[in-house]
């Protein structure tokens, strides 16, 4: 690089690179840019020393500050728990759940915690507002399969339904058709009988034909008047609320194949105070008894 070529027009040295006769000028870097560059370099060296930086074979360079985001999060979580310790203790030591609802502060704490827990754990199946979907009960209405009192809701959340937990609620809607318990004709007639209970359009003759079968097969759980039984988780067949659907086709499907939806047990996955808060929240959605 002994021969420095200088561009005639601008008086600036060229790099020697030439494309189609156009030569690249070798202008110096702007001073401010250079300063920023070197400040960044100096900064990065300080950063290597202080902060975790280079990866190694069996770990990484930890830096003199021993910084760890994971540890920071643990500290932050512990701080949050400490802040909540008092309210949590009061939740757990409340003599019964009604006292939680009647204490505005405690209720507010439970509702706030419950709402966030509901969004994280329950909304997937029950919907963001607890509105439910086919097969997943609406938690806003006043129709409860296993009871809508605070304690009932807490039990359901804790143990689940057909969850495999030894204390879980268990009931069975038999597969009357596919299981061969009733002949096809009787199942078809029963559809009309069930629809008659909730005052829906039906064939009265078919319903009358199915009455004896209902008496034998269904009354045990659903009751003679079809109003169901919360102690067995048997739905009320006389109201307009249906878990799977009240149209003839869906009722027939229910009778033919049976039903057995599962709600998991939350014991072990959520802490006792979290289950309490969730129960208070679900109860507040408006359907609580």
């Amino acid at each position: 690089m002994s021969d420095k070529e200088v561009d005639e027009h601008s008086g600036v040295e060229t790099t020697g690179h030439s494309w189609d006769g156009i030569k690249e000028l070798n202008n110096p870097l702007p001073r401010w840019w250079l300063i920023v560059f070197w400040v960044c370099v100096a900064w990065s060296i300080g950063y290597w020393v202080l902060m975790p930086s280079w990866p190694g074979i069996s770990g990484y360079l930890k830096g003199t500050r021993n910084h760890s985001e994971r540890a920071n999060v643990e500290v932050a979580v512990a701080e949050l728990d400490a802040q909540r310790a008092d309210a949590t203790r009061r939740l757990l030591t409340a003599p019964n759940m009604e006292t939680i609802e009647n204490d505005p502060d405690l209720q507010a704490f439970a509702l706030a915690a419950g709402e966030s827990l509901f969004g994280d754990n329950c909304a997937t199946c029950h919907g963001a507002g607890g509105q439910g979907f086919k097969g997943y009960p609406n938690l806003n209405d006043d129709d409860w399969l296993w009871g809508g009192k605070l304690e009932d809701i807490r039990q359901t959340i804790r143990y689940g339904i057909r969850s495999g937990h030894e204390d879980a609620h268990i009931s069975l809607m038999q597969a009357y058709g596919s299981g061969g318990l009733l002949p096809r004709d009787t199942v078809d007639d029963l559809v009309h009988y069930v629809r008659s209970l909730s005052g829906q359009e039906h064939d009265a003759e078919a319903a009358a034909r199915a009455a004896p079968a209902f008496e034998v097969q269904c009354v045990q759980c659903h009751g003679a008047d079809g109003k169901g039984d919360q102690s067995q988780g048997a739905p009320n067949l006389t109201d307009p609320i249906w878990l799977y659907g009240g149209d003839a086709a869906t009722i027939r499907e229910t009778l033919w194949n049976g039903r057995g939806g599962v709600m998991p047990t939350w014991e072990g996955r959520l802490s006792e105070e979290e289950i309490l808060a969730l129960a208070v929240y679900v109860h507040s959605l408006g359907g609580g008894e």
């Binding site: 609406n138 209405d141 006043d142 129709d143 109201d239 307009p240 609320i241 507040s284 408006g286």
Partner: protein, 496 residues
């Protein structure tokens, strides 16, 4: 060039010294890019200088001391007269308390500030820039410090050129140290507006203050030091948008710092015993130029760089007294008056003009609006949010229920017992989570200075609503004060 030594010229009348100096923005040397020329404003004495000292003392006093004023508001509320409380989300200004949803009052204050500036500028030119702009006030303070340590203009120019002796180092270190201390006081006062001043001051020195306090302390220390110490007039000329706007706000009747060309020209040095016949009063001493903190020559007329600080008026009056001519060659005057004098007419000051009437009346209107808004502001705010997931609930008896979350902001500092009534179609019943309900009415306690949220259920019997929805009004009343707020919403009945 302004750094040149003044040429001694003792033969001028009144002992006036003629300075060899050129305005930094002189037309002849102006280029698209120009390195900054240092400006060494000479000390002046006079009416406007005194006025500026007073305004400096008042504005700086207000800035540094206001956070310390106490204003008791009752238990649980800060007793600082002026406080921007980010954590508590309130702005306190003596008897005024602003909540985040009332931020439009801030808009009002900004509009009033802008209109006041318009009006003042239309009447008296850049009085804001010249007297009360923080940039001007702090620069003035910094120049005062500089003058105390390094001496006046000539001494400072000499020191700038001098070799780095122990004396120069001592002076420069002292100057910058005091500048930085002033900067720290400025940054230190700033952060006091955002926290309880006495406790923040204590925490600040014990290292317990929040990070933001240290950050803004450092930031304002730095900006004060840089803006008032080394950038000075460049902030006004290059960074501030206001000089560009002002030309649209002034007119030929605006009182501005003006060199009376009709009286001053033709200018020229005046020797002892010379006649004043056939010449102007300007003796070309350039006292106005060397006293100018912007380094410009007022005799070139109104210009972007001029902040109307009026120091050239004092400088020129001093010279006029020495040469035995009437003062006021440079004075607050209007372009129209120059024209009037040249035409032999009587001069006059027209403060009332269409422009000032417009600015004044709009300003009065906005002020009235603000006073009305502040004096009649509601002591509670109600928001009704209808549940959207699900929009309505079918109950087991076939009735339909909607849920509403009613949020009530209670701006009073005491607990109020409020009545919520839901006015909807006949047959509607109302319930609330955790509150007593009777018929369509819910009573609840709203604690002071908080937002109370309550979920309300409205239920209609089967077939009670004709069509898919019905209008509903949520009425919140305070039986004690009679205050009442209505919130229209709807009741969704689904497909009917």
């Amino acid at each position: 060039m302004s750094v040149n030594e003044p040429a001694p010229s003792s033969d001028l009348s009144g002992g006036v010294v003629r300075h060899n100096v050129e305005a930094v923005n002189a037309a002849g040397t102006r280029t698209l890019y120009k390195a900054r020329e240092p400006i060494y404003p000479k000390r002046v004495k006079g009416t406007f200088r005194n006025l500026k000292w007073i305004i400096m003392a008042v504005t700086l006093g207000v800035y540094y001391l206001v956070p310390w004023i106490r204003w008791p508001r009752g238990p649980g509320e800060p007793d600082q007269a002026v406080l921007v409380d980010f954590a508590g989300r309130r702005f306190y200004f003596f008897f005024i308390e602003i909540w985040p949803d009332q931020l439009y009052f801030l808009t009002g204050v900004l509009i009033i500030a802008a209109l006041s500036l318009f009006l003042a500028t239309a009447l008296f030119g850049r009085v804001w820039c010249g007297y009360s702009c923080p940039q001007t006030v702090w620069t003035d303070l910094y120049v005062w410090v500089e003058r105390k340590i390094e001496g006046d203009r000539n001494a400072r120019m000499k020191l700038a050129k001098a070799k780095w002796t122990a004396d120069k180092i001592r002076k420069r270190v002292t100057k910058h140290a005091i500048w930085i201390l002033i900067g720290m006081a400025t940054g230190g006062a700033w952060i006091l507006y955002f926290h309880d001043a006495p406790s923040l001051a204590r925490d600040f020195f014990s290292g317990d203050a929040p990070f933001t306090s240290y950050f803004f302390f450092a930031l304002l220390t730095l900006t004060t030091y840089l803006f008032a110490g080394s950038m000075r007039e460049q902030v006004c000329t290059y960074m501030c948008p206001w000089p560009r706007i002002q030309a649209a706000l002034t007119d030929e009747e605006t009182l501005e710092v003006t060199y009376k060309v009709d009286r001053g020209e033709p200018r020229g040095p005046h020797k002892k015993g010379d006649t004043w016949e056939g010449r102007g009063d300007c003796v070309s001493c350039r006292a106005c130029v060397i006293s100018c903190p912007m380094g410009i020559d007022i005799r070139e007329g109104a210009q972007l760089e001029c902040i109307n600080c009026a120091l050239c008026i004092d400088a020129c009056d001093d010279i006029m007294k020495k040469v035995g001519r009437p003062t006021g060659l440079i004075a607050y005057d209007t372009d129209a008056n120059i024209a009037r004098r040249e035409a032999g007419e009587k001069t006059t000051v027209k403060l009332v003009r269409p422009r000032t009437i417009l600015y004044g009346s709009v300003l009065a209107f906005v002020c009235a609006l603000m006073i009305y808004g502040l004096s009649t502001q509601a002591t509670m705010v109600v928001n009704v949010l209808r549940d959207r997931a699900p929009p309505f609930i079918l109950m087991s008896d076939g009735s339909i229920r909607n849920a509403y979350t009613v949020k009530i902001v209670n701006r009073e500092n005491y607990t109020r017992e409020l009545k919520i009534t839901v006015e909807g179609p006949d047959g509607m019943t109302v319930g609330a989570v955790g509150e007593e309900a009777e018929g369509a009415t819910v009573m609840l306690d709203a604690p002071g200075d908080t937002v109370r949220s309550v979920r309300i259920f409205a239920t209609m019997p089967p077939g009670g609503v004709k069509g898919a929805s019905a209008p509903v009004i949520v009425r919140v009343t305070d039986p004690d004060t009679g205050e009442e707020i209505l919130n229209p919403t709807v009741f969704m009945a689904g497909r009917e």
